[in-house]
């Protein structure tokens, strides 16, 4: 069995039909991680005991001939920003290097309930702040398609694990593009659900109003199955919405003819790499061939998205990260003589440069005298950005854009230029700000053989439509991706 080719369905079926056992799958994946992950660095922590316990449970179900849950025996990886009971959760930060939470994130618990086997916790930019995974407090992740390049970020480890075949599927979180951008760079599918569709309970917060848990998979169907398992109202997260969860897989395979797909001009301007543009346009043409209608649209406030994002996200982050103070858990500097010195030394030693930069930026924009000019203004622009989408969706069913302006860049290429790094998210931050769902699917390759991603955005709580469009495109484009 080529485990690197397994999808959720094929993995589950192989257990169901006794071609293998869940335990044997876990053995095989850990063996593959041992040989492959050293060069990639996708995993920070393996939770073998927990994985084998779950595998045994699934095997017992299969032996009894009981019905198997939808993710039965499927080995998955979890971005290390989701807490896992009794298994270390670091958020990619030295400040939580030895932190073990006494609770599971809701999404983690739901995946296990659905039969998934958690292999381990994946590397990420510290507190999910970054676009290249170079901000990990431990070590960078390398792109499995080209080890000299970044996998994207912040969920770089989760994207790389799926791309490298060291997990069948994985969970990430998307605050400004942290699922879709690495999905595009690594050539996998990444879905950011609507804000409120998936519980954030147990997700170590970066920016609470922008954090979206979501899945990575090799296929559109895989992310649909993953979404099905994690979606829904959670009494532990007041911001989850009490809306029905449709059968997402039921929309996979539906045709797109008659669907109206918007193409925003602002996403195809200067700064977009020619190869990326060509690949995305090819993808759109395939959808036209499949019967969809492509309509040029305008999202006029797009240019303000990046500054708006960096005001709101950093403001929330400055507050969310205040709890890492060395008092109750995590790192504490032992050298301090006073309380404020303890805070300063602990946070200086525990946080990396990018996290510090964002805490300072966020503290500044919330400060007396600056709040109105920055935070409040950014909230107003955020409303305008959301309104752009609302208006667009009165005429179109979905919107297509490139996921990123370029293909994966080299390690070290942008580390000295934070602004250039921030622009890697230029096409993805808008959906986070508007809270709408968006998916990135592979749509081609550069001449160098690097993956290119196409983004499909949808209406609030209409993941079904973007999955449907993505699935049609995925099949039409399959031959270009080999």
């Amino acid at each position: 069995m080529n485990i690197e080719l397994l999808t959720i369905d094929s993995a589950r079926t192989s257990v169901l039909e006794k071609e293998t056992t869940a335990t044997a799958l876990v053995d095989a994946f850990y063996a593959r991680i041992a040989t492959e992950d050293g060069a990639i660095g996708a995993y920070l922590t393996l939770c073998k005991e927990r994985a084998y316990r779950q595998a045994a449970r699934i095997d017992a179900l299969a032996d009894k001939g009981d019905a198997l849950p939808p993710l039965a025996g499927v080995p998955v990886a979890i971005k290390d920003v989701f807490t896992t009971k009794d298994v270390r959760t670091t958020a990619g930060s030295k400040i939580l290097e030895n932190f073990i939470a006494p609770y599971d994130a809701t999404v983690v618990a739901k995946l296990e309930e659905a039969g998934a086997i958690i292999l381990g916790k994946t590397n990420c930019d510290e507190f999910a702040m970054g676009s290249s995974n170079e901000n990990s407090g431990f070590h960078p992740v390398r792109n499995p398609r080209d080890h000299s390049r970044v996998p994207g970020g912040s969920s770089g480890g989760s994207a790389a694990a799926v791309a490298a075949g060291t997990a069948v599927a994985s969970l990430g979180s998307d605050t400004g593009g942290s699922i879709r951008q690495p999905a595009a760079f690594c050539g996998v599918v990444g879905l950011m659900p609507t804000y409120g569709r998936v519980s954030r309970y147990g997700l170590i917060a970066f920016a609470s109003s922008l954090d979206h848990p979501g899945p990575f998979g090799k296929t559109v169907k895989d992310v649909a199955i993953m979404l099905q398992a994690i979606a829904g109202r959670d009494p532990l997260d007041s911001t989850t919405a009490d809306v029905p969860v449709p059968n997402f897989c039921g929309h996979i395979g539906q045709p797109v003819d008659g669907m109206k797909i918007g193409v925003p001009l602002e996403y195809f301007e200067d700064g977009l790499d020619a190869e990326v543009r060509a690949a995305v346009e090819f993808g759109m043409q395939e959808l036209v061939n499949a019967g969809a209608e492509v309509i040029p649209i305008s999202l006029p406030h797009t240019a303000y998205a990046i500054p708006t994002y960096y005001v709101i996200a950093t403001a929330e982050a400055s507050s969310n990260l205040a709890r890492f103070d060395g008092v109750r858990y995590g790192l504490r500097s032992g050298e301090a003589k006073t309380l404020s010195e303890m805070y300063r030394r602990t946070r200086d030693a525990g946080f990396g440069a990018e996290v510090k930069r964002r805490i300072m930026l966020g503290t500044y924009v919330l400060s007396a005298g600056y709040y109105d000019a920055y935070y409040l203004k950014a909230q107003r622009v955020r409303s305008l950005l959301a309104r752009d989408f609302d208006q667009a969706f009165t005429t179109v069913d979905a919107i297509i854009t490139p996921t990123t302006p370029t293909v994966a860049f080299k390690l070290g290429e942008k580390t000295d230029d934070p602004l250039a790094m921030y622009l890697a998210d230029i096409y993805t931050v808008t959906a986070d700000l508007a809270g709408i769902p968006a998916i990135s699917i592979p749509c081609g390759k550069s001449k160098e053989g690097l993956p290119i991603g196409m983004q499909i955005l949808g209406k609030h709580f209409d993941e079904a439509s973007i999955l449907r469009v993505a699935h049609v495109a995925e099949h039409a484009l399959a031959s270009r991706l080999v």
């Binding site: 939470a101 532990l236 007041s238 205040a322 709040y371």
Partner: protein, 490 residues
């Protein structure tokens, strides 16, 4: 500079302007954003969970009961409830603040525009209430009292996340006495609503005061100071008196008041400025993204305020008209909801409710005052008053005996039923003994006997009275009548 004395010169050319911020803990069973118990006095860090410990990942979920309690209190304080209010984060670092921010409300509080009516030397006065908002309490830093206190400060997070309301007054208070009266009325109202025990020793009611002075007649406000750490109403009055004196002295000597937070030291009766570093707070408030806006729509609000009991002022007015007691006594009887309830229950159970009220007013209050007791400390309970009222009503005891029994109860510190049981007049039911008394009375009153036997039968009443008197009121009246009728006819 000499230390100013804690006195306020009457007729001073300055007028104090005072506003109070009162924090009240709500008596919900569980905390405001998690399911942990709010029970006071449990061993440190036993009522805690990932939410109130500020661990990374868990999220706050609002306790509905806390909202209901806050709405009750705010309504009782005549506030308008905002249909939509917003939780906000108040950011500051402190070891007993586990998240590094307190979830509170800022520019859109739960309730606004309320007032309390207080009594002043110049008649009633309305003190405006700017706002009432919901927030969570912080934990406690334990600096001493533990075995290793010399080495460490310990943190107890049992209190972290206990629901609070903050009640902010307008700067309508013009003297330390008014501040005291405002707090007394405020506490009385909150206690009536039942949403807090307002126990200052356990910290379930805390008060900070903002104070400034200005020349009388001047509209513009002076520079204010904030006095914190005052844990009784009496100390608030002292602290304000001290601050007013200090402000006057500073201004009179040509100095300027520095806007600052000052801590009150009750031992010394003085306030001290905190180091400026400790008060250079910019709380960087912003809307709490983990909670949705709080919506209290009209139907929920109606449902909540249906629980609102009759409030002290209304009840006082009703007691005056219903029982014909004085306003002063009505105020005493309504000083707590429990007492007023006990009084009204006792009155309702008695044969003549008004007599209960009269006894409270005529017999109980004076004795309490003479002994320097509060009504809660009265040896005679409301039930006792009701029982005594019934005994007088039925003629079983006379007013005189009642007074004696009340005196005795106050002397022994026992309730009326116990005293009555011990001291109740022993009735003589032995016919021979009564006949003996009758014989004596008849022998001693030959004139009246002659009148009776001459046909003036009404004289029997005289004989009954004499027999009762001779028996010290202890002869059974029925037997006396019966035996007298027989003997007189002999």
């Amino acid at each position: 500079m000499a230390t100013p004395e804690a006195t306020v010169a009457t007729g001073s050319k300055y007028e104090p302007v005072i506003g109070l911020e009162v924090h009240v803990q709500l008596l919900t069973k569980t905390k405001i954003f998690c399911g942990c118990s709010t029970h006071f006095g449990d061993p440190p860090n036993t009522n805690v969970c990932p939410v109130c410990l500020g661990l990374p990942g868990p999220l706050p979920v609002l306790n509905k009961r806390a909202v209901e309690f806050a709405v009750l209190a705010a309504t009782a304080l005549n506030c308008r409830i905002n249909e939509t209010s917003i939780f906000a984060r108040k950011n500051y670092f402190y070891p007993d603040l586990p998240k590094g921010y307190q979830i509170s409300q800022y520019d859109k509080p739960l309730a606004e525009f309320g007032y309390i009516e207080i009594k002043t030397a110049n008649g009633p006065k309305r003190i405006g209430i700017t706002r009432v908002h919901l927030e969570e309490d912080a934990g406690k830093s334990l600096h001493d009292g533990l075995p290793d206190s010399s080495e460490w400060t310990s943190i107890d997070l049992n209190r972290s996340g206990v629901p609070l309301i903050e009640i902010v007054s307008e700067p309508d208070i013009s003297s330390p006495d008014e501040a005291h009266e405002y707090l007394t009325r405020l506490k009385e109202i909150i206690l009536y609503t039942g949403v807090s025990d307002c126990n200052m020793e356990e910290g379930s009611l805390r008060c900070d005061a903002n104070i400034s002075i200005r020349p009388r007649g001047q509209v513009q406000l002076g520079t204010k100071t904030e006095v914190k750490n005052v844990n009784s109403f009496r100390f608030i009055r002292h602290a304000l008196e001290y601050e007013i004196g200090r402000h006057e002295e500073v201004i009179e000597s040509g100095g300027k008041i520095v806007q600052e937070t000052r801590l009150y030291n009750s031992g010394e009766g003085k306030t001290y400025g905190m180091r400026s570093k400790e008060q250079a707070h910019d709380y960087r408030y912003f809307p709490e993204p983990d909670l949705l806006p709080l919506v209290v729509d009209d139907s929920w609000r109606q449902q909540i305020i249906a629980e609102l009991p009759e409030l002290p002022e209304a009840r006082r007015a009703r007691l005056v008209t219903q029982y014909g007691i004085t306003e002063y006594d009505a105020a005493t009887l309504t000083s707590s909801r429990t007492l007023a309830d006990q009084f009204e229950e006792a009155a309702a159970a008695a044969k003549n409710p008004k007599r209960v009220a009269n006894l409270v007013q005529g017999e109980l209050m004076g004795r309490l005052k003479a002994k320097g007791l509060e009504i809660e400390q009265s040896p005679i309970s409301m039930e006792g008053v009701a029982m005594s009222a019934d005994l007088v009503e039925s003629g079983a005891i006379s007013g005189k005996i009642l007074k004696d029994l009340y005196d005795l109860a106050f002397e022994c510190g026992e309730d009326f039923p116990a005293i009555y049981e011990k001291e109740k007049p022993q009735q003589i039911t032995d016919s021979a003994a009564i006949e003996k008394i009758i014989d004596e009375v008849m022998d001693g009153n030959p004139k009246q006997l002659e009148q009776y036997r001459g046909g003036k039968k009404t004289v029997i009443a005289f004989f009954v009275g004499q027999v009762m008197k001779a028996s010290k009121g202890q002869a059974n009246p029925t037997l006396v009548n019966e035996l007298l009728a027989k003997k007189l006819e002999e």
